[in-house]
């Protein structure tokens, strides 16, 4: 025993490994291939449950698909309860209850209770403008573990313009105070883009004032509505770098007080993000209508077909579903990914971004400097970031219908020689 302990003296940080997405089978897992242990070892650890696409806000940076799922197509209470139970059984550890606005579901209480019963660590991702104190108390009682509230800006007027919801800020501040009063951990989500990037420092102050544990400086990722509105959202390269500096200085200053997670805008990156920690590696998403997907933007890849949790068990979809196996691992890769030393580090980046920018989801994510499309993508971002700001398209069903009307194809990017 002494030897074992001594091995650990001096390398304290090895005692605790922090992972956000990880389904690596441990060497300790043994048994038949179909035993529960083996299945769990291969299961995802995170589930994003998009309970509804209904939302009181109309943010143009939303990454939901343009084609919003209708309320009459949404899964029933029993179906969501079953998803939670199956998730717990197959070894999923955390569930993120999101949307749209998850509190728009009248049966959120039953879903939270099912998640808690199934041993899932639950996270409510809410805009908080329609949340009532009594309801939050009830959710906590039923086992809700964590609340994340989005703020569209720190300046109320600008925030309410961005979200298209007058009076939002006062309601959000009130709800954030309820969360900490009740002893629930609070995350402030700050969706960052060119219309609020100048306020990153003030977001940090706000999070500290509210007693949040955690702040997400989430630079907008360009999927769905955000892709449609990209030119109205893209910050300049200089603004982006400044915001990164502000966050890095604050991290040091606020050690032990506030954890700041940052999602960077990858149009200016040199290396791609390891999107979802690798396709179908540690994460799954269920849409309001029950489609099970490896990521929440996967529907933007037209080659893929998705199984529905109403028709097929969650574990079966995870292990054998066509969309999950389409880009799992590295076999699907082409050059320059195939021979790249980083292929099991970044997993080729984001399939949806490769689709959106290059028209082929098996291409290297153009955020990677090795992609032949990289230079053009970065130039496009720089050019768009300098355009005069115009009103953007608000996310709502009326604008969705308009945006989905067939129109002339935009010119696709061509690769560099």
């Amino acid at each position: 025993m002494t030897t074992e302990l001594k091995d650990h003296v001096g390398d304290v940080n090895d005692h605790l490994e922090s992972v956000t997405v990880d389904d690596e089978p441990t060497s300790g897992v043994t048994g038949e291939d179909n035993s529960l242990g083996a299945l769990c070892a291969r299961a995802p650890i995170g589930l994003l449950a998009e309970l509804t696409h209904r939302c009181p806000l109309q943010c143009g940076y939303c990454s939901n698909p343009i084609e919003l799922e209708r309320v009459n197509k949404e899964l029933t209470t029993e179906q969501w309860v079953s998803v939670m139970e199956q998730a717990g059984e197959m070894g999923i550890l955390q569930v993120h209850l999101s949307g749209g606005e998850p509190t728009a579901r009248k049966d959120l209480e039953e879903i939270v209770a099912a998640a808690a019963r199934s041993g899932l660590y639950s996270n409510l991702i809410t805009a908080a403008v329609t949340l009532k104190r009594e309801r939050l108390e009830k959710l906590k009682e039923l086992g809700l573990d964590h609340v994340q509230i989005s703020f569209q800006d720190v300046d109320p007027e600008n925030a309410e313009r961005i979200g298209g919801y007058p009076g939002a800020t006062a309601k959000k501040l009130e709800a954030a105070n309820w969360v900490t009063d009740m002893g629930l951990p609070l995350t402030i989500n700050a969706p960052i883009h060119r219309q609020n990037i100048h306020n990153v420092g003030r977001y940090i102050d706000l999070a500290v004032e509210l007693g949040a544990q955690r702040l997400e400086i989430a630079h907008v990722q360009y999927y769905g509505w955000a892709y449609l509105n990209r030119a109205m959202l893209m910050p300049t390269y200089e603004q982006t770098m400044q915001s990164v500096d502000v966050v890095e200085a604050a991290r040091e200053r606020l050690k032990g007080i506030l954890t700041i997670d940052m999602v960077v805008p990858d149009y200016y990156a040199k290396r791609p993000k390891p999107c979802m920690g690798g396709w179908a590696k540690g994460f799954m998403n269920v849409t309001p209508a029950g489609k099970a997907m490896p990521c929440h933007a996967a529907e933007s890849i037209p080659q893929l077909t998705f199984d529905n949790v109403a028709d097929r068990p969650l574990l079966d979809i995870w292990l054998h579903g066509e969309a999950f196996n389409a880009f799992r691992g590295t076999d699907w890769m082409k050059e320059p990914c195939r021979s790249c030393a980083f292929k099991e580090v970044d997993w080729g980046g984001c399939r949806c971004q490769a689709m959106a920018i290059t028209g082929d989801p098996t291409n290297t994510d153009p955020a990677c400097a090795l992609s032949p499309y990289h230079g053009e993508m970065a130039a496009m971002a720089r050019e768009e970031s300098r355009r005069p700001l115009k009103p953007y398209v608000y996310r709502n069903p009326k604008n969705a219908a308009e945006a989905l009307k067939p129109k002339q194809e935009e010119a696709e990017l061509t690769p560099a020689e």
Binding site: H8, L16, G28, V29, L36, G183, L184, P185, G211, Q213
Partner: protein
């Protein structure tokens, strides 16, 4: 003051009586045969030593007492253990995952 409203950084010292806040869940992940610490948007995988330390963090025992207990259990010098325990707990506190009386 509520659990989540903290005045400042917690500095772990010999008299500190650490505990895990209720929203942190130390669980055995049976399917993957490992211990996990579930936190907001995080999953920590503490090793065997860290789990033993965390199980002693009850808000009653001090860092001194925790170190003494582990020192006896592992027949190792208490100074070494205490240094290790303090660093581990400070690391957790800096991640926002530890409270103390």
């Amino acid at each position: 003051m509520a659990e989540t409203n903290r005045p400042g950084r917690l500095i772990v010292e010999s008299g500190t009586k650490p505990y895990l806040p209720p929203y942190l869940k130390l669980r055995h992940d049976k399917g993957r045969d490992r211990w996990i610490l579930l936190a907001p948007e995080r999953i920590l995988t503490p090793d065997k030593i860290a789990v033993e330390v965390l199980q002693l963090c009850d808000g009653v025992r001090s860092v001194d007492e925790i170190s003494q207990t582990l020192s006896e259990q592992y027949s190792a010098p208490v100074e070494l253990i205490q240094k290790d325990v303090t660093e581990l707990l400070q690391d957790l506190a800096d991640k926002g995952f530890l409270k103390a009386f």
